[in-house]
Symmetry: C2
Subunit: 280 residues, 2 copies
């Protein structure tokens, strides 16, 4: 594998070499089945909707050789984006960023921007910056740290030879928060897809009753993200919003798909339920 | 990779070359995040408890090259057991057993035992045995079919050069049923671990209240399987049984661990709750 690292910040604005994504999750709790890998499915859903193609999800022990093999394989297979989860925390076995540095032979050092992020969090808690905490700011040289709005360890993004390596924490709330804070807008910028949103407002039908219908639509429309958001009380005065985010190669295509899904769902609701009030 | 297939049934009673397991899941619904990979975590939990070590969980598109690469890699890495899920059904894109045959250069043909299993299911439903249905009995030559007690497609077990390849359906209920019907007892036989069981009966405390405590114990005792089974009504007259299955290299070790966990959990319950009645 060639060592070709771009330290130029501008390069972060060029899209990856292709839309293929490999997800690599570390964590003993995933390999012994104590934790279900919801991080992978959450990321996969988001990425698919944004127009990327997830080609592999790999759970690997957090040991250097094992992790390194999978990372190199992802890059050799020309994954445009490699997303890792786990191993960003302060403990001795949180080594993802060290492993990435060693695998790609890039210096592993304190990133000043990351250090400022970590400092801020601990200052706000009036906690000292110990060696273990400082470790969370150590990254492969040339990385961009990603702000963690709900935890301490920043995420990381690194350009490497046409691909981006993105590292997120294993704690789902932190992983999601980092993704939604900054990363999602970068991914949207990289993607050639256009997105169109519709909201259907439904009164008088419980979310649980509508769930099978939403699941069916999700499976039918793979270029869309369909989700219910309960706004009223489930049993008393149910009021839910169904969010439909459709993607297409052009704005027109995305709008058309969003309309089609909206009509389809409204039609299904009207067929199956009476007494509900629908606004679109 | 050497082609060395044992057609001798007796070989199925020798344990695999080691305790390492690779799980390979196929399915677009896993790669686009519509389905959470609960099959992998369920299998991982069961296998860990039985004394096996899950080294990789890999989700791969159901395309020949991609699947074949991962299967060969698992065998090259000397996985004692490779478990696949998905791709056993009657439709055109259910090709796991064909892919395994092609990857290992083993003839792909109707297995008579499997055919009898499939026939029985359709006869019971007074349904004809179509070409698509017969396909579910096609397997790599030398396979042992695994009975599917809740569906139509049999599972498959194949000995290959020190390793076992085991294929299960993607539908969770069928995957679990096949595992528990015949496979689990074979795995128990292969494993050198001993198992000890304890039950704690708790009255007057809700399962949801005890849940965090059980999660904590599960994370602490990795050689054990700890699960609550609600027997009474959650809110009215709660009565739950906590099942503790502990493993060890000897019966004594397993018994000791089971006792330790039991005492630990009872102690935690007594510290955190008053008013509960505990029997062991």
């Amino acid at each position: 594998m060639k060592e070709k690292v771009m330290y130029n910040m501008e390069r972060f604005f060029s899209p990856p070499q292709n839309e293929n994504v490999w997800i690599i999750n570390t964590g003993t709790e995933l390999l012994n089945g104590i934790t279900v890998n919801t991080n992978a499915s959450w990321l996969a859903r988001k990425l698919s909707f944004l127009g990327f193609k997830v080609k592999r999800i790999i759970v690997v022990p957090d040991e250097f050789e094992e992790f390194s093999n999978e990372l190199k394989r992802a890059l050799e297979n020309k994954a445009g984006i490699v997303i890792t989860t786990g191993g960003l925390g302060p403990t001795y076995d949180d080594n993802t960023l060290l492993f990435i540095s060693k695998s790609l032979k890039i210096p592993y050092e304190v990133n000043e921007d990351a250090l400022n992020m970590v400092k801020k969090v601990y200052e706000a808690m009036s906690e000292p910056l110990t060696k273990e905490r400082e470790k969370m700011a150590k990254m492969p040289k040339g990385s961009i740290p990603l702000k963690n709005p709900v935890g301490t360890a920043p995420g990381m993004m690194l350009y490497y030879s046409g691909s981006y390596i993105i590292s997120l924490p294993g704690v789902p709330s932190e992983m999601k928060a980092i993704f939604e804070e900054d990363l999602e807008s970068v991914l949207k910028m990289w993607s050639k897809k256009k997105v169109s949103e519709n909201i259907i407002k439904v009164r008088g039908i419980m979310e649980s009753a509508i769930a099978p219908l939403i699941e069916k639509a999700s499976k039918k429309y793979l270029n869309a993200y369909i989700k219910t958001h309960p706004k009223g009380k489930e049993s008393n005065e149910p009021y839910i919003e169904i969010q439909i985010l459709a993607t297409g190669n052009t704005e027109e295509e995305a709008n058309k798909l969003a309309s089609e899904i909206t009509s389809d769902i409204i039609n299904e609701i009207e067929t199956k339920f009476s007494g509900g009030k629908i606004e679109r």
